[in-house]
Amino acid sequence: MNTIETATMDQDAVATGAVPAATDQAKKELDKDFETVGQVRVANPRMTTTAVNVYYGDKHAIKNVNLDIGANEVIAMIGPSGCGKSTYLRCLNRMNDTIDGCRVTGELKLDDQDIYDKKLDVVPLRARVGMVFQKPNPFPKSIYDNIAYGPRIHGLAANRTELDEIVETSLRKAGLWDEVKDRMDQPGTGLSGGQQQRLCIARTIAVSPEVILMDEPCSALDPIATAKVEELIDELRQNFTIAIVTHSMQQAARVSQRTAYFHLGNLVEVGETTQIFTNPTHKLTEDYITGRFG
């Protein structure tokens, strides 16, 4: 989806009723000096974002967002279509750089390093902050080469033995090794949807990221494949930090420790997942998660 489509999506979404039109009161609250409810900052953050604004041309898509991504946590981002959660997610590894007309301001840091520093090479950044997309997108290569590709180009393996080890470790961590170990030379595209998505996760893990970004990773999967990916997310949290965008509130409640609610480009509320889903503070959050719109 290109810039123009994403930029106009929230207008269309409002017009068709797919996303609620904010009441006048809510719009005033959101547009002027809006302050996020809840704890945006955490101790020992892996990533910090301050005063982040994103523009698609004249369209102000993300408005002054402050948010920490804590180390070894899963943070879920929820909100109606067009609210900016995927746009924000893409800021974290500069994937918005690939969109014409997209401008990002503010401060975004990975372990105290400014990721929008002009001198920073984005290729290693995207290895450190990997991404898994909504539609599984394995390379048109063998299962082995899907995993090995990243370590090869980043020079992470000195020889074939080390590369084999990386491939096996990554597939084991993704819970896929036992299912594919006897057909590593077969094409990755020949796997089922759930297996392909886990292959993509293994591919991301293979380059030893610090943060994994997931943009609706289960929306194209059946319930069983979804459950496997969710369990995998829970295991991966031991070693990685994960930020996940999801339309499923039940999924956000199941997999995350913190949940951030976005609305019309604003970060409305962020807090512990249990608190957000049992007793949210902001009325907009309450209305969205209970399915009642003004």
Binding site: T23, M249, Q250, A253, F277, T278, N279, P280, E286, I289, T290, G291, R292, F293, G294
Partner: protein, 240 residues
């Protein structure tokens, strides 16, 4: 935002939740009638009222089963969160309290059946006046708690909780008066025992009304006040 703006995006949810709430309120209304009937049965040694309480308990059981089914269906289909989830929890717990209240009413009726032959010649004895007073007070508490649920009014819930001390004072006064009946004439002992059992049963009804109110406060405010002293039920705390 007015009430019409609070419609769920799935219209069936509001209907299902409203239906569940109405079932609970119906059970509550039945509980109020049962308590009143049971107290009157004991006070006036009225077998007809006592049998009415027993007969009505069938309707209570049926409602209880309908509630369990509706509860499971709502949770399975709609997976409520936030205020809806708290509301569901509150209604489920209220159903339990109401079933217990109905059982207390049945125990009152059983007192009449057990001692009818002994008591019938002594109908009209003012010894049971405190039972009716207690029944009126606890009945009013229960009605107020049910109204608080219907209107989702935290303040009304707080008032029910604070009424508990009125019940305690009534109970203590009644027990002192009952003691004097024993001192006057030991032949009053069986009736005093029945009156004491009835008073204790009505105290438990009041406890259940308070429990309903505290669950309502939780549903509306998100704060668990079940183990807070009534003096600490500050509306500011509930809003924080």
């Amino acid at each position: 935002m007015d009430a019409s703006d609070r419609r769920h995006i799935f219209s069936r949810f509001d209907g299902d939740l409203g239906g569940f709430r109405q079932l609970v309120l119906d059970m509550g209304q039945l509980a109020c009638e049962q308590v009143q009937l049971g107290a009157e049965a004991v006070t006036y040694c009225d077998m007809q009222r006592a049998r009415q309480v027993d007969d009505n308990y069938r309707a209570v059981r049926n409602l209880d089963m309908d509630l369990l089914e509706a509860n499971a269906e709502l949770l399975a289909i709609h997976q409520p969160v936030a205020s809806d989830l708290r509301f569901m929890i509150m209604l489920s717990r209220t159903a339990y309290d109401l079933e217990r209240i109905n059982r207390e009413a049945t125990r009152l009726a059983n007192l009449v059946e057990a001692h009818y032959a002994d008591r019938i010649s002594k109908v009209g004895c003012e010894l049971f006046d405190d039972v009716m007073r207690m029944a009126e007070t606890t009945g009013e508490m229960l009605q107020q708690a049910l109204r608080a649920i219907a209107d989702e009014q935290v303040q009304a819930g707080i008032e029910v909780v604070n009424s508990q001390e009125v019940v305690e004072r009534l109970s203590q006064g009644a027990l002192r008066r009952l003691a004097t009946y024993i001192m006057q004439d030991p032949r009053n002992i069986p009736m005093v025992i029945d009156a004491t059992i009835a008073l204790k049963g009505l105290e438990r009804v009041a406890d259940h009304a308070v429990s309903i109110a505290k669950n309502l406060i939780y549903a509306c405010s998100g704060k668990d006040v079940r183990h807070l002293s009534p003096l600490n039920l500050d509306p500011e705390f509930l809003r924080s």
